[in-house]
Symmetry: C3
Subunit: 354 residues, 3 copies
């Protein structure tokens, strides 16, 4: 059994600096959406399309903007940005087991010359290799592998079963989900008469502070210099970052994005799910790329970019596909028609003039 967290509305208001409408001593034991919340749960209204659920919500209280609060008679916490407030409070109700600072499981295999801070924790069967450095407050999950000379900055969390190869530098407060592989050998081969000769990947990976890396995401080490991930970058699951890619600060990528080698992505970009980028291009700051877009050239202007076609019923889609293959022919015929019609019109005009 896990103890259920409980806070009074007053405590939550104080923590947020929110204005309280209602009973300061009402107990809140969880968070939920407007249409799922019960009387001891706190909810929030962030997306205007959910405003319709506000009237009927059973939530014990709701995080609202002062404007939305005018049309709500129940208990509420008034705050400028309810979604951000929800993000802040969410950590109070997280059932995730917390590592016990300083607890190193007896089965962990730690090299004699690795440095593990006294306040760090290491899970069962973790392996930490020669020269690795684990800073204060880091929690390393069960079955993790930390390679030689790899450095993890303070306050980081490795979920169970994360692989960090050798010579990987991880900043502070970095979270890495299970199955992620950081520092694997990049895909580099020289072709010699049809046979691929391997190029050793002698660079490393350098990851900034406050980065999140999703489950089964892979970030390859550099061929020569390091692969670079900036501060505050958020990477979802199953993302593939190839050798020598550079990702700018506070850029976020949804799941299944693939970035080919040596491509450089700016700051504050957003890549939706399944986006693919070819290698050796540059994306400037502030670019948003919609889902499953194939990016084959550099982008020099901020804004939204897309590729692909819209989904259709398969029978209609087959017609579209066939027509796309005829497009070049259609374009030529259209041009031809324009010329011929111009000739006809000219002839008609000439005839009229005659």
């Amino acid at each position: 059994m896990m103890a259920v967290p409980a806070f009074t509305l007053g405590q939550l208001a104080e923590r947020l600096g929110a204005t309280l409408h209602g009973a300061a001593d009402k107990m809140i034991t969880g968070l939920a959406t407007l249409h799922e919340a019960g009387p001891d749960q706190l909810s929030f209204l962030a997306n205007p399309q959910y405003r319709k659920y506000l009237a009927a919500t059973r939530a014990g209280a709701v995080l609202l903007t002062p404007t939305d609060a005018q049309s709500y008679s129940g208990d509420a916490l008034l705050i400028a940005n309810p979604y951000l407030a929800y993000a802040q409070l969410s950590h109070l109700f997280d059932p995730k087991p917390q590592a016990i600072a300083g607890l190193v499981h007896p089965t962990a295999v730690i090299a004699a010359d690795a440095v593990v801070d006294a306040s760090a924790s290491v899970g069962a069967y973790a392996v930490i290799e020669s020269g690795a450095q684990i800073a204060a407050g880091v929690a390393i999950g069960a079955h993790c592998f930390v390679g030689a000379r790899t450095v993890i900055g303070e306050g980081g969390w490795l979920a169970p079963r994360v692989t960090l190869y050798h010579d990987v530098r991880i900043g502070k407060r970095v979270v890495i989900q299970s199955g992620a592989v950081i520092g694997g050998e990049g895909f580099g081969f020289a072709n010699e008469k049809g046979v691929w000769q391997k190029i050793a990947q002698i660079g490393g990976v350098s990851i900034g502070d406050d980065v999140e890396i999703g489950s089964n995401t892979t970030i390859d080490r550099g061929a020569l210099a390091d692969t670079l991930i900036g501060n505050g970058v958020k990477l979802d699951n199953q993302i593939m970052i190839a050798h020598n890619v550079q990702v700018g600060d506070h850029t976020a990528m949804a799941a299944c994005v693939g970035i080919s080698g040596s491509t450089k992505i700016g700051k504050h970009c957003m890549l939706a799910g399944g986006v693919g980028l070819v290698g050796h291009i540059e994306i400037c700051d502030g670019v948003f790329i919609t889902g499953m877009t194939m990016v084959t050239r550099s982008i020099t202007e901020p804004g939204a970019y897309s590729s692909g076609t819209a989904m259709q019923p398969a029978a209609e889609w087959k017609k579209s596909v066939a027509r796309i293959r005829q497009l070049d022919d259609m374009a030529r015929r259209l041009q031809q028609l324009e010329k011929r019609l111009a000739a006809v019109t000219a002839a008609g005009d000439a005839a009229s003039d005659a």
Copy 2:
């Protein structure tokens, strides 16, 4: 050395309830396709396009419909659905090592308050955390991690190296392949002046009975409520299911599908490989989506749906791509032509009338 399984044709006929044509005591030691089977192997004819291989097969016997059996003189087992019969018999010839019920490897680390049924087995170096419950007959592979309070229903199999985070509920007879990660933290952040603030993912994952989950597939835990996978759902490898997705009973997804957050998929759907769905949409029951389709809106009618373009030789494709970018212009010019031609025709008619 592994003992080779062996059954007589008579035994197999009895097991299936099939009609036997031929020698009841012929020994069968394996299964193979029509053109690869040898005299001690059983084959089957399911796909009509393989009917051509029937005459020349060297198979010891063949699973056939009564109709197909009329044109085959060799030994055969007659049954209405040969493919289903093959599926049923395949398990007799599976060389997969079976876990020994009740065997817990001495290296497994099991929390004192975890409940592991006496008939369950646990592999080497598995870690089972506080409050987890492992039901009867479950086999947990080596290097698996079962998080706090996670529950696995009876008869399940975790291949080696599966991660289940805390508070994950797994139904009965669920199979999870190696590298899968269930219950990782969903990708939730609130943007505060360009910096992403993490939203704790306090929901769990709930998985029904008879589900299969492929290698390196990831299913994230919910932000508030649970991510839900229905009964009989089959997920191939490297699928990504984001937080709060709901997948209906008996839906199957091929490899590399990605489903964004809060999207709801109906029952008996089939998603081919590489399909991507945006978040917050609904797909009704009985939908088939073809490979690599990008689904950006809800689907309310059963049937097949597609997006994308057909593969062409790269030189032709470049022309098509260029033409697609001119399409809006082409459409306008086409409309213009229609107007002008109508005017010409009208003028001609007027001239004729004159």
Copy 3:
């Protein structure tokens, strides 16, 4: 601390069979690109677009073709193929920790009847099951799982945390990165009245010599016969190879490629990132498929193939997408216009003739 590798230019020239321009006793301690190299690093010029960096490079020496060397006054190693020479020398400077031959970590769990060559090494917490065979010089990383009767040929390297299921055959000098899963159960089900019945995957996986397999790549075992990967095949990260796929010798695939069941790919093919192939097709030798292409039919002629549309600013893209859905209508209207214009012209001609 790791000892820094150091070689004289003379030693490197001799190793390559290159012509030395400059000081034979100059010490080289690393490799770097032309614009990043310092005075004790060797660089190379392979891609003509980097020729502009040659004049200003601070590199201690440069690998150059005899032709490029004519315009360079610094120290150089002259060789026909500088990129290949770089590939060869890269291994001298690889900081990757080398396994110690014959070292089996005391925590490794090795079945009594598994055969591990005396010169092989096995990392911490690796599990090697009954009947497995590990040949001379193989290095098995920490947390690896080697299933029953699986065979690994001499000189192979498994990075930490690789899963090989039972009955997998791996050739010589094969490298497998962390998180890869070889031999997972293929995705095979027979549909019985809407419910999926599992088909046991009784085939194995057979992998040739000199193969590389990237992080988190999955290769499923065959349904009946083996899944086959040829010699010299190079697979990047997060690739999915389904049951009974065959990949020809020296074919290379970039990350996130997905190949559906029973598809056969020729020799010396190159598949760029994110390519998807449907099942049961054949790709001939010497095919190059560009990124994110959807391959829905067999390819019988060598050459380059593509699908998809070009990236556009999202607003323009929305117009293109709308127009693609009108394409069939546009094509009909175009045809109609051609007929009507022909009629007008004919009428005009008739009128002229009249």
